[in-house]
């Protein structure tokens, strides 16, 4: 028997809060180091496909409990002090609590170098000034978003995009990173509509899990990858900035990728952008949800649903506690050099550079404290962590908390310890497993930790007021 009755609601998960958004263009000068691919035989960017952007979202009515989310078109923080410096500046500049600031990278693989250690390399002379520029842009956009907060709301909808595919391919027992047509990929797009009380759209939050690896070594232009065209399409249609949050995409990427063709990145972006717009257009108008108001006789007996004002939902919460994870049994740099002796010089150099950077400043013992940020925004939850989790992470959280939109964000804050892959990836010797500092079993511990944080947030812990 149905439990729907006159007065039933199809609820729209939402937060009622002061909200503000701001945007800065942080496209660096051409010629900046842009070494993202082992197979590349060049080091510096030669032009710009689409602008590199920084977008800020501030929420919270009282300044002491405000939350600031910064989304940046960037690949990865190779040195964690680089990220920490920017975040510390934001915390001190605005007097925000540590749990209330997130810096999220889109993970574009066609972005500029963001590593202070690159200064002596080709194109590295532009990097220090660029790091200063993104720090200043984060401060400026953060201030503008905080200062311009107006009474409004964030409401959530869920769509689907076929852009992402599973990228764990086995070729006769050899694990490769590339489209595997035999395994389905998580296609969830979480869409948050940010509006003022008068219904005006202030911006859109898009959370989707897919490696921005359309563009690779044959592309020498700075690019946000698919995020660029997605953002342009959504911003043109809505009139507000679009803030992109990379999901748990450790095992997800476009089917066709590793290309030099920027029009392919744009096709990918439009595909995702239209999926976002489809979800937005299917939402009830801002501040309303559907209510079953009447049953009437016409040619047929009809059930009438109409938009009705949503109740205020003002609970904001934040937790920033760490989970202890084990470091894997790491080979030495010399052992790695031996293992990879058969591959080309550029790829070998890149792999050894990555391995050294990861070891240098993060590993201090057999385990590490892995930080995880969890926010409650009314009916929605946002979980951010510095690594690159397998999509099982978001699937698990959404399955455990089906009543709540769960925004899951990889590459948030730091320090970054690499991939957080499944046990199977370790058993099969996948790239994500051998490139990570974390031991097998970390994903399971991370999932349990995040579920515990969400349970506590929903019980009222971490309330910000």
């Amino acid at each position: 028997m149905s439990t729907t009755h006159i007065g039933s609601r199809a609820s729209v998960p939402h937060l009622t809060s002061a909200v503000g958004m701001a945007r800065r263009d942080v496209t660096p000068p051409v010629g900046i180091r842009a070494r993202n691919w082992g197979a590349a035989d060049w080091d510096v960017s030669e032009g710009v496909h689409r602008p590199i952007l920084l977008t800020a979202l501030a929420i919270g009515t009282s300044d002491g409990a405000a939350q600031l989310l910064i989304a940046l078109d960037g690949g990865v923080w190779r040195k964690f002090e680089d990220e920490r410096k920017i975040r510390d500046h934001l915390l001190s500049e605005f007097g925000l609590k540590r749990e209330n600031v997130l810096i999220a990278l889109s993970h574009t693989h066609a972005g500029p170098g963001m590593c202070s250690g690159d200064v002596g390399s080709a194109g590295g002379e532009h990097v220090p000034a660029y790091m200063e520029a993104i720090e200043q842009a984060a401060i400026d956009a953060g201030r503008e978003a905080l200062d311009n907060r107006v009474a409004g709301r964030i409401e959530w909808s869920q769509g689907r995009s076929s852009l992402a595919s599973n990228r764990d391919l086995d070729l006769n027992g050899r694990p490769l990173i590339g489209f595997n047509p035999e395994v389905a990929a998580d296609d969830t797009v979480m869409v948050g509509r940010v509006t003022a009380d008068d219904g005006r759209v202030l911006g859109t939050v898009v959370n989707y899990a897919c490696h921005p690896t359309t563009l690779a070594w044959d592309n020498r232009l700075l690019s946000p990858d698919y995020v660029g065209a997605m953002r342009e399409l959504v911003e043109d249609a809505t009139g507000g900035p679009c803030l992109f949050l990379q999901g748990a995409s450790g095992n997800l990427a476009p089917k066709e990728q590793y290309s030099g063709d920027v029009t392919l990145a744009d096709r990918h972006g439009r595909s995702l952008g239209h999926a976002v717009m489809a979800a937005l257009e299917d939402m009830p108008l801002p501040g309303t949800e559907l209510e079953l108001v009447d049953a009437i006789e016409s040619g047929a007996p009809l059930a009438i649903w109409r938009g009705a004002p949503t109740a205020e939902e003002t609970t904001v919460g934040a937790l920033a506690d760490a989970v202890e994870l084990a470091i894997s049994d790491l080979p030495t740099i010399e052992q790695l050099r031996e293992r990879w002796s058969g591959i080309n010089e550029h790829s070998l150099g890149e792999r050894l550079f990555r391995a050294k950077n990861m070891r240098d400043d993060r590993v201090t013992g057999p385990t590490i404290q892995y930080p995880v940020w969890a926010w409650r925004w009314g009916g929605a939850i946002l979980v951010g962590h510095p690594g690159e989790a397998d999509s099982r992470f978001q699937l698990t959280l959404r399955e455990r908390f089906p009543e709540h939109p769960i925004v899951v964000v990889n590459l948030v804050n730091g320090p970054h310890f690499g991939y957080v892959p499944t046990k199977e990836a370790y058993e099969l010797g996948r790239y994500q497993a051998w490139a990570s500092l974390l031991a097998s079993g970390s994903l399971e511990l991370l999932e349990e930790h995040a579920c515990d944080q969400i349970t506590r947030l929903l019980a009222g812990e971490g309330a910000q007021s």
Binding site: S298, G299, G307
Partner: protein, 458 residues
Amino acid sequence: MSTQLGARLATPHLVAKVGVAQRDITPPIGVRSRMWGAAKSDVSTGTHRPLTLTALAVAADGSEAQLLIAVDGTWWRRVADEFGVRGAVLEALGLRQEQLQISLSHTHAGPLLSVADTDLEGGELAKEYLGSLTQAAIDAGRQALDERQSGQIEWGTGWSSLASNRELDVDGRPLVGYNPERAADDTVLVGRISASDGTVLGTIVNYACHPTTLAWENQLISPDYVGAMRRLVESATAAPVLFLQGASGELAPKEQYSGDVSLADRHGRSLGHAVLATLAGMPLPGQELEFVEAIESGAPLAIWREVAIPGNATTSMVQGAVELDVQVPSIEELTTRWADLDEGTRGERLRRVRDLRDGYIDGDTVQHPVWAWRWGDAIVVGQPGEPYSRLQLRLRERFPGTPIVVLGLTNGPGFVYVPTEEAYVRGDYQAWQTPLVSGSLDRLEDYATELIQGLLRD
């Protein structure tokens, strides 16, 4: 078992001569447009968005042409009206019956499609309208056939959350309206029609959702959500859209029965963006993905690239009918059953029942016609009824990997609901309104399956 170098992600397609033509078939203001029992007005007072008729002609080398005509229209009330239009098109273009499918979008804000109601307000205009609709179908059909050029139709599958299940039960009373407790089929099948040089000639959109956003409070002629969907896709692709209503017997928008045309437009944009997402996710025209190389970079990488499709050029077609059982109460019994309703509503219901029976029901069974076409890797199945979405779900489940375009409200006679067994048990509107007995959907599914098996075998 595992994916090897040279593996392909096939783009289902047909390589053939294709032609597309479109006509504006917006009726004059004042045409009869009584679609709702609860409506206070019988005629239109204006136009929300234009109604269109779009023709697609397809012919593989050495095969007979197939002509598919998509029309913004509600439904046929009489067998004679439907065949009046279709027969004229067949004769004018020299086609046999199996070569032509005329498919209605099922907008519930369209003009009356009948020549028989000239005694009623706006009925004379409706009669004239059917004449101009017939001429538009002939003109567009001829143009599509004449302008055929070498090209291809390629298929992609997307999703739209516009449709919801509309089998609601409130305290044991079955209602037609959004049921949040049941999932709806959200499949959008998208066909990109392009010339050999890659120029997009048109887009086929097959989606199952009652165009019932607009109802008795709206007096404007409108394609409902199909209008804004078409406008969005046509402006993005610079080519006409053929909208084909799927098996939507129990599917409709969540918010509907409205007088607000902007709601219909929001619905249309939602579906339209889903179509554009699907199109943008497809390889370029004439291409599909191949696993071409494994290389070492920072990680070991698998490279997939776009390569030419193999070029499936097989077309075939079959027309048949499935015998279905009927059980109908007499008109007198219905008059007694509906005695408590107001006179307008009762009259409307009785009239619908009479018009449905003439020329279709003769005894205890009907011959329910089905058209099935093969377009290379894809199948198009059309029939005149309004089946529940299980028809398309089952057919797609039985032929995975084959795009199955399922059309309701196509050709005639048999303009009736084909509900699930559960709908009869619950006593849903669709079950008491149809003359078909429980179990008909199974028979239709099995019959369509046989036709498809035959086409794929040949």
